[in-house]
């Protein structure tokens, strides 16, 4: 797993800039980096997109509709291409310019450290993910407006978490403050023109904003005994009912910052072809459907159980952490109003 080098606190000189100047910061970064940030897609949807000029960024948002994982693990990604039956040609994986993700929420930043465990783990390395990760600097933007279904707090993250990022940013109302977290982040920060040193009172202000934001994280869930509990209830009749209303669509998994299951497919036109990795979902019957017609996870029951077990038990057994960051996207977007927190509470309450 990745260990993030952290800089000494003495070097942590906070910088600041007026809000109306933030575009100049982005415009500067765009010259040297591929910059991705939150972009307004329609009235309700803000999502990460490539930013060509500072004005495109939308920094007044609660959270992006889709999580940041797609910047490292895109929904569709060519693994290699080929002609006829010739050998695979892998194109250059390294991005043309180093990348900056500007304005990621702390929950999404945390999700990357969880994905690191999978794709940059001790055994097989995933070059597609790792190259993007290594060439990306993350600017997290503290979350001042946690939404009603946010529960990052319960996962030990919190809206002002400074973990798993290179530069921590926060909105002070009329200004943004920047705090370097890693040497790489500090390097970039030092080069940005127009930043002033933060004011002496800013640290105190940050602290207040932090507790204010934390108080807005209204939902809590007790995860302490969940992995052990799940280990004991694999065959519990509870699973017979929980999936009843689930439609079996892929929303909760596609919008989950930590879900990382994928499919590999070939696409070919004439003799030019590609092998592509695409997101897949354990909610789909085809996920485990074998060519023989046998499906070990034949019904919604097994599939729902797999999803919860994977996040809250198997991932813990394999990587020591829960595969959830409390972003609430699965709750917000479930078409039938399935509520992950409620499901966990039900599990906690099982005898």
């Amino acid at each position: 797993m990745r260990t993030t080098p952290r800089i000494l606190s003495s070097e942590k000189i906070m910088k600041t800039i007026k809000k109306d100047k933030i575009n100049t910061v982005l415009d500067f970064l765009i010259k040297k980096y591929q910059v991705f940030g939150p972009v307004q897609k329609d009235d309700l949807v803000v999502d990460f997109g490539r930013i060509q000029n500072g004005a495109q960024a939308c920094l007044e948002f609660s959270n992006t509709n889709e999580p940041a994982k797609k910047l490292f693990f895109p929904q569709a990604e060519t693994l290699f291409s080929y002609t006829g039956s010739d050998a695979a040609q892998v194109s250059e994986l390294k991005p043309e310019k180093p990348r900056i993700i500007f304005g990621m929420r702390p929950c999404d930043a945390k999700s990357l450290s969880l994905l690191d465990a999978v794709f940059d783990g001790p055994d097989y390395k995933d070059p597609y993910y790792i190259v993007k990760r290594k060439n990306t600097t993350i600017f997290t933007l503290a979350c001042r407006r946690p939404r009603s279904n946010c529960f990052c707090d319960s996962l030990g993250i919190g809206p002002f978490s400074k973990k798993d990022t290179d530069v921590f940013m926060a909105d002070l109302g009329d200004r943004y403050v920047f705090e370097p977290i890693t040497p790489g982040g500090a390097d970039i920060l030092n080069k940005i023109p127009g930043l002033e040193n933060a004011r002496p009172t800013d640290a105190e202000r940050l602290k207040n904003l932090r507790s204010e934001a934390e108080s807005k994280v209204a939902r809590k869930v007790d995860l302490d005994n969940l992995p052990e509990k799940l280990a004991r209830i694999f065959d519990h009749p509870f699973w017979d009912g929980i999936h009843q209303k689930c439609l079996g669509c892929g929303i909760c998994t596609y919008l989950c910052p930590t879900c990382h299951c994928f499919d590999i497919v070939d696409e070919q036109k004439d003799d030019k072809g590609r092998r592509i990795r695409i997101w897949d979902s354990c909610s789909y019957p085809t996920f485990t459907l074998e060519a023989s017609g046998h499906n070990p996870r034949a019904t919604g029951k097994e599939r729902m159980r797999q999803r919860l077990m994977h996040k809250f038990r198997y991932f813990v057994e394999n990587y020591g952490e829960i595969a959830c960051v409390g972003c609430g996207r699965c709750i917000n977007h479930c078409p039938v109003g399935s509520d992950l927190i409620r499901e966990i509470e039900n599990i906690n309450n099982l005898k």
Partner: protein, 315 residues
């Protein structure tokens, strides 16, 4: 007595007298502006059932896979879906007990979020026709009728077309000026503009297939998207594949779609799915004079023909 109380009474009776194994309805789990489908088997649990303008799911979706006898809470559009399912031999009339609800329209949450500039609704209380929504920094009184789903605004079948028990009196028909207004507007634009419109809205699609799964009439055991031999549609987010997926899914609903709007409401990225299905419904009506799900024993318009069907498009 209000409709919700009547509904609970009826459900209790059905379960107590063992006329059905399960009542499929809506319950309120506390999430503002939402209800969630529930499956009640114990008469003691019927008080979980709610009836309000947030009962937006089309519960007919849950009928096809069942082997037991189910009662289902169904709005006008939902009953039309049930009629289609019966006509297509997906469910047996005797196995479904329809608790028909005359429906004044359901609320489209997204419209409220939009109105509140994406404000975070933490609490919503409905009283008569007023929803009082509360966030951390705002409180607002909203009229239900200002936030009805688009499909409800052009609804011409607010009352159940088929039911075992109707809960409440029939509502008068809605004065729908132009059911296909948005479709017609789009039809009048240029081919380039239409292409641009669909390319834009469909490029938001993440191929999660929630539209398909929420649709009561998408019951194919294996959807064409899941077939790999041949693979009809590429599985990537390539825009061409996404458009083909939506064209063909919409086409498969020809003469069957009852415009309940479940597809569009389920979409996490606000793709205008109904702009496809509604167009087909309009054409079916124009060309063949059919409307889906209005009576039993009715055939889907693509499963029969008339010798004098229009053919001016054929050379």
């Amino acid at each position: 007595m209000d409709l919700q109380t009547k509904l609970r009474q009826e459900a209790r009776k059905l379960l107590e007298e063992k006329l059905v194994d399960v009542v499929i309805g809506y319950e309120d789990e506390g999430a503002p502006l939402r209800t969630t489908p529930c499956f009640i088997t114990d008469p003691q649990d019927v008080d979980r059932l709610v009836w309000n303008p947030f009962c937006d799911h089309n519960l007919a979706r849950y009928l096809t896979a069942r082997k037991d006898k189910a009662a289902v809470v169904a709005k006008g559009c939902d009953t039309r879906a049930i009629v289609v399912l019966i006509n297509e031999n997906q469910i047996e009339r005797k196995n479904v007990n329809i608790l028909g609800m005359p429906c004044g329209g359901i609320v489209d949450r997204k419209k409220i979020y939009n109105h509140l500039k994406n404000g975070d609704v933490r609490e919503a209380v409905l009283k008569d026709k007023v929803i009082t929504v509360k966030g951390l920094e705002f409180t607002a009184d909203l009229m239900v009728d200002d936030f009805l789903a688009d499909c409800c605004l052009s609804c011409r079948h607010r009352n159940p077309v088929l039911c075992d028990v109707q809960i409440g009196e029939n509502l008068p028909p809605l004065d729908v000026k132009d059911e296909y207004k948005k479709i017609k507007q789009l039809e009048e634009s240029t081919s380039e503009e239409r292409w641009e419109y669909f390319r834009k809205t469909l490029s938001k699609c993440i191929r999660c297939y929630a539209c398909r799964e929420a649709c009561p009439l998408c019951y194919c055991q294996q959807c064409f998207t899941d077939q790999n031999f041949p693979a009809w549609v590429g599985k990537t987010t390539d825009i061409s594949d996404t458009i083909v997926f939506h064209i063909m899914r919409a086409f498969h609903t020809t003469g069957r779609c009852v415009d309940c709007g479940a597809c569009e409401r389920s979409c996490p990225n606000n793709v205008d799915i109904r702009m496809l299905t509604k167009k087909i419904a309009k054409d079916v009506k124009e060309l063949f004079g059919d409307e889906a799900g209005l009576q039993l024993e009715e055939k889907a318009p693509l499963s029969f023909y008339n010798e004098d069907d229009p053919q001016d498009f054929i050379k």
